[in-house]
Structures are given as C-alpha cells and as structure tokens.
C-alpha cells in the first residue's frame, strides 16, 4: 500500500472519531487532521465547529501547503485570533484537539522539547500550543507520522504536554488510553502492519488488535478533491 493510501486510512479513522464531537482544532503542519475535519463536517457531522488558527469554521476548497495559511481565513464564517483559541480551550469549551508529538510515551504524554542522547542535546521545535491544549481540551487526539522505539517510549525525558489522550495515531496503529491500566493500549492495527511489527517498534508493552477499518469511497473522494497533489503523504515520509 502506498503512502497516499496509508494516509487515507489514518484520515478516515480520525474523521470517524469526530462523528459525535462538538468542536475540533488543528494547528500547524497538520495535514491529516485538516482533511479529517473537512470529511467529518461534510459526511458525518455538519454542525461540528472547526477552529483554526486563522479563523472560525473554515470551508476550504483546497488544502494549502500550510494548515495555518491565511488563505484559509478567506473561507471562514467568522474571525478568530490565535490567542482566543487558547482561551476557548482554557474555558473548557474545546472538545477535540489534534496534537503532534515528537516523542510519545505510554501515558500519552508528549515531548516536543528536547532529548539528551548521552551528553548530546537534540533539540525539537517546542510544543507550540500543546501544553495548554493537552491539559484543557476534553478529547486530545495525538498523532505522529513515524513509528519507532525512539518515538514511542515508555516515559518521555521531558514532559512538554500532559493530558489524557482520547486516541493516539501512528502510521502502524491506533492506541487508546486504558484508564484502569494508566497506559495506552492498541485499538486497531493498520492492515499493512502487524502485532509483531508494533511490538518490535514500540518502547512499551503492546497487544494484538483488530485491523483499522477501510476508508470509504466518499471519504477518499473528498480527500482527493481537497488534496489532489498528495501533500498529505509528506507526513509519512
């Protein structure tokens, strides 16, 4: 399965999570969540409120090369300034937020700050709005375009953002938080991966799980309409 088809599986599963959501927000470089929210609004949940950094309820006809491109603001229902977005979450009014993690641990905490490999510091960009959003949004959804034991670790060296993730998406599987165990468990395994592969590439204990459902033709049609050039595959490269 090529990278475009793989990303379609992830987008579809993200979109279906939003069927009962009140609102969703995605930030920078968030191509998969951008397409998932667009699908959810068109197919499953027309009342879903889409918060973006550049405006309230965008209605884009294309996905630009930046998910915070001011072009998106031209197709919004109302203006919204970035600072207000954080206020919305701090007030407890934000339902789903999509957060990327450079490093993700078994609790679903994120490290987007830095790691030390021996004496050597490896610097990440920082967590952007993640620290607040993970802690205050009702259902944080974490995602990452790569899956290896340096990324999915038992415990992150630095906690940039902590909260209770609703789901965690990797290019191999989907995790959910089991609150009684206090850690992530595998909910679905993407059809191109396997329990053995995930066990080998994850720094904490994992389980077998059923395959991720296929994306539907309607979903794929919207993805291809909004992203005809396949920008989304950059996430998985």
């Amino acid at each position: 399965m090529n990278l475009l088809e793989r990303s379609n599986y992830m987008i579809s599963a993200m979109a279906r999570l939003l069927k009962d959501a009140d609102s969703a927000f995605m930030g920078v470089a968030s191509f998969l969540p951008f397409l998932a929210i667009a699908i959810a609004k068109r197919l499953y949940n027309p009342d879903l409120i889409w918060y973006s950094i550049v405006g309230f309820n965008p209605n884009p006809y294309r996905m630009p090369m930046s998910t915070v491109h001011p072009l998106i603001a031209k197709y919004c229902d109302a203006k919204l300034q970035l600072a207000e977005l954080f206020d919305i979450s701090a007030r407890g009014e934000l339902d789903v937020v999509f957060l990327a993690g450079a490093q993700i641990d078994s609790r679903g905490y994120l490290n987007n700050s830095h790691v030390y490999i021996g004496e050597k510091r490896v610097q990440f960009p920082g967590g952007a709005g993640g620290a607040l959003l993970h802690a205050t949004a009702r259902r944080p959804v974490v995602w990452q375009g790569k899956h290896d034991p340096r990324i999915f670790v038992k415990e992150v060296q630095r906690i940039t953002a902590a909260g209770k993730p609703y789901r965690v998406f990797s290019p191999l599987c989907i995790f959910r938080l089991d609150e009684s165990l206090g850690r992530l468990v595998v909910e679905h395994i993407h059809p191109w991966s396997s329990y053995e592969e995930i066990r080998e590439k994850t720094g904490f204990e994992v389980n077998d799980a059923p395959p991720t459902p296929e994306p539907s033709d309607e979903e794929i049609k919207i993805i291809e309409e909004l992203d005809p050039k396949g920008i989304r595959k950059l996430v998985l490269q």
Binding site: V28, A29, I53, V54, G55, M65, S66, V68, H69, P70, L71, A73, Q81, L82, A83, F86, S89, A90, Y109, S113, H114, K120, R121, V122, Q123, P125, G126, G127, A128, G129, G130, A131, L132, A135, T136, R158, I159, T160, A161, A162, I231, L234
Partner: protein
C-alpha cells in the same frame, strides 16, 4: 520624522534589546528587518514570539540572538529550523521554552499594565518549573492558581500591509499576536508593504488597529516578509525556503547580503 530607511530603523535597536516579532511561522514576518539587524551585526538580542520560523532561525544562526522566548520554532513543511537547533544544542542560544499560550499571557500582563497574570494549570509541563512560573493563593477561592510574569518587549517589530507616514497601520488577515505586542511593547517599529496617505487608510478604518502611539519608525519595504508570505500580496517563496532550510552559518552570511533588502 517617523519615516526612515531600513538601515536607520535597525540602528535604533540596541544590542541586548528584547524584541518581539510579528506574524507566525512564515506569515507576515519582518524578514527584511531581521536581515538588516543581522547585516548590522547586532548581538545579544532577546527574541520573543509564539511560533517563529525564518526570522528566529536567522538571528540564532548568525549569532545575533542570545535568547529565544517562544513556544515553537520550525518551518512547517520545509522541515526543522536547522540554525536555531544548532545554536540551542551548542548552548549559544538559550531557548526559554514556553507554550504559545504562556507567551501570550506574558504579553497580556504587560499590555494590561500588571506584574503577572493567572493562567490555566499546565504545571505538568517541564518548562513551568524551568521558567519559574509560580502558584499563588486564589484570594477568591480554594485552589492555587498558576501565574506567569509580564514580559514587556523593548520593541515590537511588526510587518504590516499598509501604514501612513505617522505610523497608523492596518493588518489584513490574521493578526496573530501583533496587536497585543503593539499594546505590550515600549516602542514599535513598523515595516510596511506600502506607505499610503492617511485619508486612504481611513477608508479602511475597520482594519486599522495599530495607532501611531509608540511607533518610532515607519519603513516602506516592498516584499518585507520575503521569503515568507504576506497575503493578499504574495505567498511564500517555496524554492527559496527549501534552499534556506539547508543553509549553514556560511550560507546564512551570504544569504543576508544576497537577499535585499
């Protein structure tokens, strides 16, 4: 006179100043101004922004910055900010990491004229302790409240689409933190795509949220956000950003003289 050249405006910024930069990532960034700061060999700047990109990377890579106060520094699709990373990894720049929300809170406190401001509880994040953010008793309730101190920039450096000669200015599209920075800062330096007559600016008064107060310089710089975008006039230069993302310190030294202003 408020209208001046880019060189004159950059000369106003003393070494060691705390500057906050307009825009977000690669959008409406004061790129030409930042290049001029680098050409003048500024040192020890403290640079503040919620989400930086080209501007922060360039100042770090050329040794102009000693501290970055931000929540994120990267180039989005163009990859990681190589020179920023290297400077932080080698200890040449202190990354006073925040979350965008706490940078905004620090600016709000400065804008409101108060010493600190309560924020939502993000105390599990490691940088809360590193930054020294403190809990205080809530005088009206039970639970303790996390606070951040005000940060007042010496200069807000804003790139806008239109300004008049006195420094009234409009912003088309998202403000990001720019209007807040203008309120919080001690002084404002504007670079603008075009200087227009005051009467013309008044016709678009609904977009004019930067009054001339505190504006110390107005510089007309066409394509002042290049290689970033300044909608509705131009998008990012994708080829240039791809090349920029792979430049090392030597490459940056050439870049600031090749890309003029």
């Amino acid at each position: 006179m408020t209208v001046m050249s880019l060189e004159e405006a950059a000369e106003m910024v003393e070494n060691g100043s705390l500057i906050s930069l307009s825009g977000n990532l690669l959008f409406r960034i004061p790129a030409a101004f930042v290049r001029e700061l680098a050409r003048q060999g500024k040192r020890d700047l403290r640079v503040m922004k919620t989400a930086g990109g080209y501007d922060v990377d360039l100042l770090c890579g050329l040794g102009c910055a000693k501290e970055v106060i931000a929540g994120f520094v990267s180039f989005e699709v163009f990859g990681l900010a190589r020179n920023f990373r290297k400077a932080v990894e080698e200890g040449k720049v202190k990354y006073s990491e925040n979350t965008c929300y706490s940078v905004i809170a620090a600016l709000r406190a400065a804008a409101y004229g108060i010493p600190f401001i309560p924020i939502a509880n993000i105390s599990k994040s490691y940088f809360v302790k590193e930054r020294g953010f403190k809990f205080v008793d809530n005088p009206y309730g039970e639970e303790k409240v996390l606070t951040v101190p005000a940060i007042k920039p010496d200069y807000a450096i804003l790139h806008v689409q239109k300004a008049d000669e006195e420094g009234n200015a409009l912003i088309y599209g998202p403000w990001f933190e720019d209007v807040l920075m203008a309120r919080a800062a001690e002084n404002i330096i504007l670079t603008t795509e075009m200087i227009v007559p005051t009467e013309e600016l008044r016709r678009e008064i609904d977009a004019v949220w930067i009054p001339k107060l505190k504006v110390k310089a107005v510089v007309e710089v066409k394509k002042g956000a290049y290689p970033g975008a300044c909608p509705p006039y131009y998008d990012m230069d994708f080829d240039m950003m791809e090349r920029y993302a792979s430049l090392d310190e030597e490459g940056l030294k050439n870049h600031i003289w090749e890309v003029r202003p």
